[in-house]
């Protein structure tokens, strides 16, 4: 290849490259132009769209406003309803609930939405509010169903209505439910019925009282002749006279009649009893030394009476005569329930009721001395249980022993002492009758006298008493002041936490079971956040529970059982403070 050829070839290559550059440059310029045109057109289109979007947005806003107002009105209606209202979808998930619903279940609305009832309350038993299968399956309303539902206020009796929720095409897409809490209404109705019953009973008793009051005095005078003249007659006639037997019978009948009059008088004199401070243990011992008890042992030689008496038993304010009579009646009944013989156990102990409960009757909170009479006899049928306190109601052979007024006297006496009665009985297994007498704190000095209080006096330490029951706070405060402590008391866990947060406290006397609000354990946990070394004494009417133990694990000290006995109380607090 010559130089000329080579040069030519190179020139050719350069030309091609130059052409390529030209082509690319031209293309680039045009492409840029295209791009700019497209951009211009894009903005043109875009601004048009903007305008359209703006117009539509305005219209939508107007509609939204109208909807918002309508919705608000509806919300207000739904949320101000005193009943619970809930909407659920086809999978039984909550779509909307009203305020009352959220309140009753103690869950925030946002936590409820999207969940089923079972998901919300996994531990609780299923109820009608949670299960919609019937409505969804039958595609028909389920109306006026009564059911018990667990809520933050406890188990409530509700009236529930549920209707299927349909879309505009009529397909069922969920349910709408309404539930009304009937508990209070039913309770009021029940109370009314109870009161009516009580009234009838009281009227009956009053009538008997009036009658007895009216006739007893005269009858007693008349009976004096029948009871005392046979004695004179028996002195006059010979030992072997055939008249002796009938005369003794006359005398015994007279005595029996006199006993009935006595019981009638006891009932009639209710309300005018003279009360004094006494100890139930002493009264039991009085009875066991009495003639009546000796007689009982003669009638029932196979019956053994045992006692189990609490040595630290607190005092009660009572009419001793009536209490002894009550003990006697109960022991007689117990003995008669065991014709084959057996053991009657009389026991006493201190007791604190922290939460009202329903036994034979409703038993209120408070400190009590309890008397228990336990037999292993024939028991009382459920039917009889409802009537045993009515005068002259008996399943025993009438006239055999009692007057027909024994249990009526028991009832009257307990009621006069503002006490309560509980009975547990099983036919052929026996009966336990428990009497609750309120503790009196009137004579604390007598309580203290047993030990040397000076060893346990405080030094003005500051003690916080937390208890939901006012009487308990009062007693604790009273005892603490006597023991030379400074005291502050609050009625719930939340207030206690708040107080501890702002004030240093040497010791907290903390009730375990409090309602409503947080309990002792939760309150203690909160307090520890502010003062990890906070001293506390846990108290409860029940025996030590898991929660008490949990609190003790967290650092709470001794466990103080209610009702408070001043000796234990003083020792425990002193000991705790010295730790």
């Amino acid at each position: 290849m010559t130089d000329a050829d080579y040069k030519k070839e190179l020139e050719q290559k350069i030309k091609i490259l130059e052409t390529k550059i030209k082509h690319l440059t031209n293309d680039l310029v045009l492409t840029r132009q295209d791009y700019e045109d497209s951009m211009a057109k894009y903005f043109d289109i875009y601004s048009n769209m903007e305008k359209k979007v703006h117009e539509r947005t305005e219209k939508l806003k107007e509609l939204q406003n109208v909807l918002k107002i309508k919705n608000m009105q509806l919300e207000i209606m739904v949320d101000s309803s005193p009943g619970m209202i809930f909407y659920k979808d086809g999978q039984e998930r909550y779509v909307r609930v009203n305020k009352k619903f959220a309140e009753m279940f103690g869950v925030s609305m946002s936590d409820i939405i999207g969940k089923t009832h079972a998901e919300l309350f996994p531990g609780l038993p299923e109820n009608i509010i949670g299960n919609d299968q019937e409505v969804l399956k039958n595609k028909a309303p389920d109306l006026n169903r009564g059911a018990f539902v667990d809520t933050v206020k406890g188990r409530r009796h509700m009236l529930i209505n549920k209707v299927p929720y349909r879309d505009i095409d009529g397909n069922i897409i969920g349910i709408i439910g309404f539930a009304i809490d009937m508990t209070d209404l039913y309770k009021v109705e029940q109370e009314k019925r109870d009161l009516e019953e009580k009234l009838v009973r009281a009227e009956k008793m009053e009538a008997i009282g009036l009658l007895a009051g009216g006739v007893a005095h005269d009858l007693n005078n008349i009976l004096t002749g029948i009871v005392s003249y046979p004695d004179l007659l028996l002195l006059e006639i010979p030992e072997d006279s055939p008249l002796r037997r009938p005369i003794v019978t006359i005398q015994e009948s007279g005595l029996k009649a006199a006993a009935i009059v006595q019981d009638l008088l006891t009932l009639a004199r209710r309300g005018v009893i003279k009360s004094e401070i006494a100890n139930l243990n002493e009264l039991i011992n009085d009875y066991l030394k009495s003639l009546e008890y000796e007689k009982l042992k003669i009638y029932h030689p196979n019956v053994n009476v045992k006692t189990d008496l609490d040595k630290k038993l607190l005092n009660i304010r009572c009419s001793p005569i009536h209490i002894v009579k009550t003990i006697m009646n109960l022991v007689i009944n117990a003995a008669e329930a065991m014709p084959e013989g057996g053991t009657v156990i009389l026991s006493t102990k201190n007791c604190n009721i922290d939460k009202a409960f329903k036994g034979y009757e409703n038993i209120n909170t408070g400190d009590y001395v309890i008397l228990q009479v336990h037999d292993t006899g024939i028991g009382i049928s459920e039917d009889d249980l409802n009537h045993i306190f009515e005068p002259f109601y008996t399943n025993k052979v009438m006239g055999k022993s009692g007057t027909g007024l024994g249990m009526a006297v028991v009832w009257g006496v307990v009621k006069d002492h503002k006490g309560f009665i509980d009975i547990k009985s099983k036919p052929d297994e026996g009966t336990i009758i428990t009497l609750y007498f309120p503790v009196t704190r009137k004579n604390i000095t007598r309580e203290i006298s047993g030990f040397s209080i000076n060893d346990y006096m405080g030094n003005g330490e500051f003690i916080l008493v937390v208890d939901d029951i006012p009487e308990q706070r009062d007693i604790a405060s009273l005892l603490l002041k006597k023991l030379n402590y400074r005291v502050k008391s609050v009625s719930n866990g939340e207030d206690a936490v708040q107080f501890v947060k702002n004030n240093p406290v040497d010791l907290i006397i903390l009730d375990m079971i409090m309602e409503p609000g947080i309990d002792g354990l939760d309150a203690f946990k909160e307090m520890l956040k502010y003062n990890p070394s906070q001293k506390a004494v846990i108290t409860s009417g029940y025996s030590e529970t898991d929660r008490v133990k949990a609190a003790q694990k967290l650092g709470a000290g001794a466990y103080l059982k209610k009702p408070y006995l001043i000796e234990d109380f003083a020792k425990t607090i002193k000991h705790e403070l010295q730790k």
Binding site: K15, K20, H23, D34, S38, K41, I45, N48
Partner: protein, 301 residues
């Protein structure tokens, strides 16, 4: 314009009648359905103030066309990011000019359907040739002249509309023409003159005139085998470019070839008149072939 001077008047009269009849047949047929839209798109090409909205309005009155354009705009060829469902969006994404091209392609393509293959001719091959010429014409305009060349694109697509008219309305004569051209190794033009008495550029000219296409387009269609007959200076470049594009497509076997006996002298004259170097054109042809290949692969036609 004086195309048929120097010929026998009687013969001219006869030919004019024949052409008029053919145009009438075309106007009564489905082919005329493309008239409105194609003219409108060409109008936007010639009107710099036209907007995307105008283009949208032209396209949206033809639902099948709208559907086809959206389908193409969504094809892998344009690699859209999100689904394009409106012509306006297609304009933004694919580009204003590209949408015009697509619309034109689709519309003109309609008249090339119902394919059958005779003597090396088929409507598909003719269509491929049209696309090739249109594309090459446009590329020459862009790269060599630095102009958009949208009208040359339209001219390339439509330059053989005369053949379509003959194919559809003078079927037996057209078959004979194809046979004659094949057996005697002639260009289609001379065979047409013998069997029909006129050439397809004349048919195209008559149709384009009747459809009131713009003057440049009419001239391009009518003179694509005889560009030097065009006297108006401002039209020369377009007609020459179209000829060059057509010549190069035939040379490179892009689609149907109506002139197996190329007139190299005419080609060189046109080329020189436009100052286009052979190697420069070859560079463009190479790129055009790549483009056609890609379009085939993507199923654009």
């Amino acid at each position: 314009m004086n195309f048929i001077d120097g010929r026998d008047m009687e013969q001219n009269q006869d030919k004019k009648e024949k052409l008029d009849n053919l145009v009438k047949l075309v106007n009564d047929s489905e082919i005329s359905s493309i008239k409105g839209i194609v003219s409108n798109i060409i109008k936007t090409i010639n009107d710099p103030s036209s907007t995307a909205k105008d283009l949208k309005e032209i396209i949206q009155i033809d639902p099948p066309l709208t559907a086809k354009i959206l389908k193409l705009a969504n094809s892998a060829y344009y690699t859209t990011r999100s689904k394009i469902s409106e012509i306006e969006h297609a304009v933004i994404w694919v580009g204003y000019d590209a949408v015009k091209e697509l619309a034109l392609n689709q519309k003109v393509c309609e008249i090339f359907n119902k394919d059958e293959s005779i003597e090396g001719y088929s409507r598909y091959l003719l269509w491929k040739n049209s696309i090739g010429v249109a594309l090459l014409g446009k590329m020459i305009y862009r790269r060599e002249f630095g102009e958009k060349g949208e009208d040359i694109y339209a001219a390339g697509l439509l330059h053989n509309i005369g053949i379509i008219a003959e194919d559809q309305f003078l079927q037996s004569e057209f078959k004979n023409t194809l046979k004659a051209a094949k057996s005697r190794k002639k260009n289609l033009n001379s065979a047409e003159n013998e069997t029909l008495g006129f050439e397809h550029p004349e048919v195209g000219l008559a149709i384009a005139n009747d459809w009131k296409f713009p003057e440049e387009l009419v001239t391009c269609i009518g003179y694509h085998h005889n560009p030097v007959a065009v006297e108006e200076a401002y039209l020369k470049r377009k007609v020459y470019t179209l000829y060059i594009a057509d010549y190069l497509c035939q040379e490179n076997h892009i689609g149907y070839c109506d002139a197996p006996q190329p007139d190299e002298e005419l080609f060189v004259n046109c080329r020189k008149a436009l100052k286009l170097e052979r190697y420069a054109l070859q560079l463009i042809v190479d790129d055009m072939k790549k483009e056609i290949k890609q379009m085939e692969l993507q199923g654009v036609f």
